[in-house]
């Protein structure tokens, strides 16, 4: 008997694109429906989003400003997803990165150290902070038997509380603590941006570097292959000699470091201070991006860009159409739901047409 190939291997690329297109169409329809229900003109809203995202050079580069942390987080999440881990705690890891960075800057800003050194130290501290928070998730999972989803979720709450306490307590602005965050950093400790824009080429470079790093790690290294093996079958990977505990930790630490770097960049290159919503929800959004990109590095780049564009594009909706800017959230959520739904539908459809392959028959 010839070998039996699973349907999955045989499906054409065009069919896959067709399914994906169908889910995008449905998400768009759903969002339109929501807009109609609220009494807003859908076409005008979409036009405004486009206008808001690409209307000027400044806005277009703002997309990249949002893309940088989102991409960093997504890159990290691809490591943990590959290892079969649901690193929900990524949100807290961003926050801890931001906190660690702020701590270092605050401690060193009045010293004589040259600014570049302080900034590098601050970034490294951010990565360490995120990694440490992720390491806690790993410790809880491996030695405490706490599933990473619950451990991560719990630690997210702890991180939120921690950042609020710092901003309203020890790190409050002279006089009074406020939601506007800590005292801004001195100008020499801000990452330089392109003239007249908010985009820092350094930050962009780091995001690109992280994508390239994860791409190579997952595609061309034994590290990536072992992560994949663990993610697909932990037990068998262990029996085949993969040190599973070590690799679970490495995946979490890697993801935590990248999320921490994202938080670090938000502090040093975007807000120049610590603010309560420093993570901007990029952690959860990164999870959506990774899912929508089907856990592929290459696909996650445009998907993250698309999500960033939606976020930036909907900022002006409240002013122009009196719509809430969370419309982007509705679209992103709808998109992910419909893509997952279509995957399910497609699996059923294929099961009907090809029938399960008959092992050993």
């Amino acid at each position: 008997m010839k070998e039996i190939l699973l349907p999955r291997v045989r499906t054409s690329r065009w069919l896959a694109v067709g399914w994906q297109g169908l889910s995008i169409l449905m998400a768009l329809l759903f969002t339109t429906l929501v807009l109609l229900l609220t009494g807003a003109p859908p076409l005008e809203a979409y036009r405004q989003v486009l206008e808001g995202a690409f209307g000027s050079l400044k806005r277009a580069t703002d997309i990249l400003v949002a893309w940088v942390p989102l991409m960093l987080v997504t890159s990290g999440l691809l490591l943990t997803f590959t290892a079969g881990l649901w690193n929900i705690g990524v949100e807290g890891q961003i926050v801890l990165g931001a906190i660690a960075t702020t701590g270092v800057v605050r401690a060193l800003q009045h010293t004589d150290l040259p600014p570049p050194i302080i900034l590098v130290l601050a970034l490294l501290a951010g990565m360490a902070g995120g990694a440490a928070w992720a390491g806690l998730v790993g410790l809880l999972k491996v030695y405490g038997g706490v599933h990473e989803i619950f451990g991560g979720l719990g630690l997210n709450f702890v991180a939120t509380t921690l950042i609020l306490w710092l901003i309203f307590g020890p790190w409050k602005r002279p006089g009074i603590g406020s939601m506007s965050g800590t005292e801004p950093f001195p100008e020499r400790l801000m990452f330089p941006t392109l003239p007249g824009l908010r985009l820092s080429p350094w930050a962009l470079g780091m995001a690109l570097l992280s994508v390239a790093l994860v791409y190579v790690l997952l595609r061309n290294t034994y590290f990536g292959l072992r992560l994949k093996a663990i993610g697909k079958n932990l037990r068998a990977a262990h029996l085949l000699g993969v040190p599973t505990t070590r690799y679970l930790f490495l995946a979490l630490l890697g993801c935590g470091a990248m999320a921490g770097l994202a938080g670090s960049i938000q502090v040093t290159a975007v807000y120049h201070r610590l603010i309560p919503p420093i993570s901007s929800g990029y952690g959860y959004l990164g999870l959506l991006v990774a899912m929508l990109a089907n856990y592929r590095v290459t696909w996650s780049v445009p998907v993250a860009f698309f999500f960033a564009a939606l976020n930036i594009g909907s900022i002006q909706l409240p002013i122009t159409l009196k719509l809430d800017s969370t419309l982007s959230g509705v679209m992103q959520g709808a998109l992910v739901l419909f893509v997952l739904l279509m995957q399910g539908v497609r699996a059923r459809w294929q099961a009907k047409t090809t029938v399960e392959s008959d092992d050993g028959a």
Binding site: L5, Y222, A229, K232, D359, G360
Partner: protein, 487 residues
């Protein structure tokens, strides 16, 4: 009920699983369906039971053409199939499983079902506790449960797909008695197997499939040579056990205590020497797996020592055993042995890395190609393992056993394989023994153990025999010992 399948065709993509197969089964007979792995037996039966739909051909029950869209529909017409792997709900009770799929109103009639289960179990001499959870049952008991469930549903045609895999010798005897009785009651029984002796013992008529086609139909008295010829197209020679000069002791187990309150091995002593093949015989779950896993470093013994090539590894982690050259090959291929979703190339790279951090995919593919050829795996380097047939998955597992190894621990290395594949597997294992590796093999196929192992250790609910020289052992005595007699 008389069953007729006429000119059945079935393809899976480019693979032609069945071509123009016809089968007629009379009521009141046990009809054997014989063939090697991949011959199309299971596919044909899944079509009859409504699990799969044929591409062409028709099915007639008592002369009436029927078309099933689901197994439930097949069951309504009186056709029930006992699948090779139990398709039950391990987390539920025996009674709940028994009632599963029963058609009735909104309310469950637990009391009625309990009574029916007891009556049926008594009638066939099965001992099933209605309140036990199914995952605490042996494979044989789960099979008995499924059998009763189908009978309660009123099946008139009973299909059994390789039912003797994984069940104990006494359970097999009871199963055969049950099947004979069901045939006497007028039911049609279809018995799918690749084991000749079962056909000889049980079947009134045998249909042989080969590579998706009808090879022939035979009635008793059966000639084994003729059946083998029909199955394979040519006679297969039987191998001899070979005497290899034994080397140094590789594995020394002393006063080992391992297990839990349900099953515990106490004070096991065993020495396995280089080049030796030791067989572990016993009913499933009699403690063989405990010993295997303790020797692999997967479970910690309470007491005693395990030495490998003189080094004390007691209580050391699995990785230390691996480093010492102890390799363990588990029975359930896709759960513990292989990684579904990964290709053959990726599997080989996991086990045989090139020593650097970067994978050279070009070289990896060539390497995989070489191993695929060497181990006769029917697949390509980029084939994911779950797309391979059972036999080819087993070959892949063997190809993943590192060399050199000091001690190989193998669980059911030939389970579900046809005669030819089994022969091939044992040739590889004997080769490893010749190279000075010590082997410990668990198998439920006593014939196989007798044939290839130098010494055999018998297990009976936690009791462990002294190793017995295979030449001083008869199949009969071994069978008795496994059932707990003649110790």
């Amino acid at each position: 009920m008389k069953v007729e399948m006429r000119h059945i065709y079935k393809s899976f993509g480019p693979v032609r699983a069945l071509q123009d197969v016809s089968l007629t089964v009379q009521a009141g007979t046990i009809h054997g369906l014989l063939g090697e792995n991949g011959a199309g037996k299971t596919t044909l039966m899944k079509i009859l039971s409504g699990y799969l739909r044929p591409d062409r051909g028709e099915i007639l029950l008592d002369g009436q053409a029927v078309h099933f869209r689901s197994p439930a529909e097949g069951l309504r017409h009186g056709i029930g199939m006992l699948h090779q792997d139990p398709m039950d709900f391990p987390a539920l009770s025996v009674l709940d499983n028994f009632m599963m799929g029963h058609e009735g109103g909104l309310w469950l009639d637990r009391r009625g079902a309990r009574r029916a289960l007891k009556e049926l179990a008594d009638a066939f001499g099965f001992d099933l506790d209605p309140d036990a959870r199914v995952d605490s049952l042996t494979v044989g008991e789960r099979q008995q449960l499924e059998l009763l469930r189908l009978l309660w549903r009123g099946v008139r045609v009973l299909i059994l797909d390789e039912p003797t895999t994984g069940i104990s010798a006494p359970q097999k005897v009871r199963l055969f008695a049950t099947l004979r009785r069901l045939a006497e009651e007028g039911k049609a029984v279809i018995f799918v197997t690749h084991k000749l002796e079962e056909v000889e013992e049980l079947c009134h008529r045998v249909t042989v499939l080969r590579q998706g086609r009808l090879a022939g139909e035979v009635i008793p008295p059966y000639s084994p040579a003729r059946l083998i010829e029909l199955m394979f197209g040519r006679p297969v020679p039987m191998p001899e056990r070979e005497r290899i000069p034994l080397g140094e002791p590789v594995l020394e187990v002393q006063d080992l205590v391992v297990g839990d309150h349900r099953l515990r091995l106490s004070r096991v002593r065993l020495t396995v020497r280089a080049g030796e093949i030791i067989g572990l015989a016993g009913m499933e779950g009699s403690g063989q797996q405990l010993l295997m896993r303790a020797c692999a470093g997967l479970i910690r013994p309470w007491e005693g020592t395990i030495r490998v090539s003189g080094r004390d590894l007691t209580g050391k982690p699995y990785s230390a055993f691996l480093e010492a050259g102890v390799l363990y090959v588990p029975a359930n291929r896709l759960e513990e042995g292989l990684i579904p979703g990964l290709t053959l190339t990726e599997h080989f790279q996991l086990v045989y890395p090139n020593g650097r951090h970067l994978i050279d995919w070009e070289q990896a593919r060539a390497e995989a190609q070489r191993r695929i050829r060497e181990f006769h795996i029917r697949g390509r380097p980029e084939t994911p393992v779950e797309a391979l047939s059972g036999g080819n998955q087993q070959r892949t597992l063997l190809a993943l056993i590192r060399t050199p190894a000091r001690l190989l621990l193998l669980e059911h290395p030939t389970r579900g394989l046809d005669v030819e594949s089994s022969l091939w597997v044992w040739e590889r294992l004997k080769e490893r023994a010749r190279q000075g590796t010590a082997l410990m093999v668990v198998s439920s196929d006593l014939q196989e153990l007798m044939q290839y192992c130098h010494r055999i250790v018998v297990f009976f609910s936690g009791r462990v025999s002294e190793p017995i020289d295979a030449e001083q052992l008869t199949l009969d005595r071994l069978g008795h010992m496994i059932a707990g007699r003649g110790w």
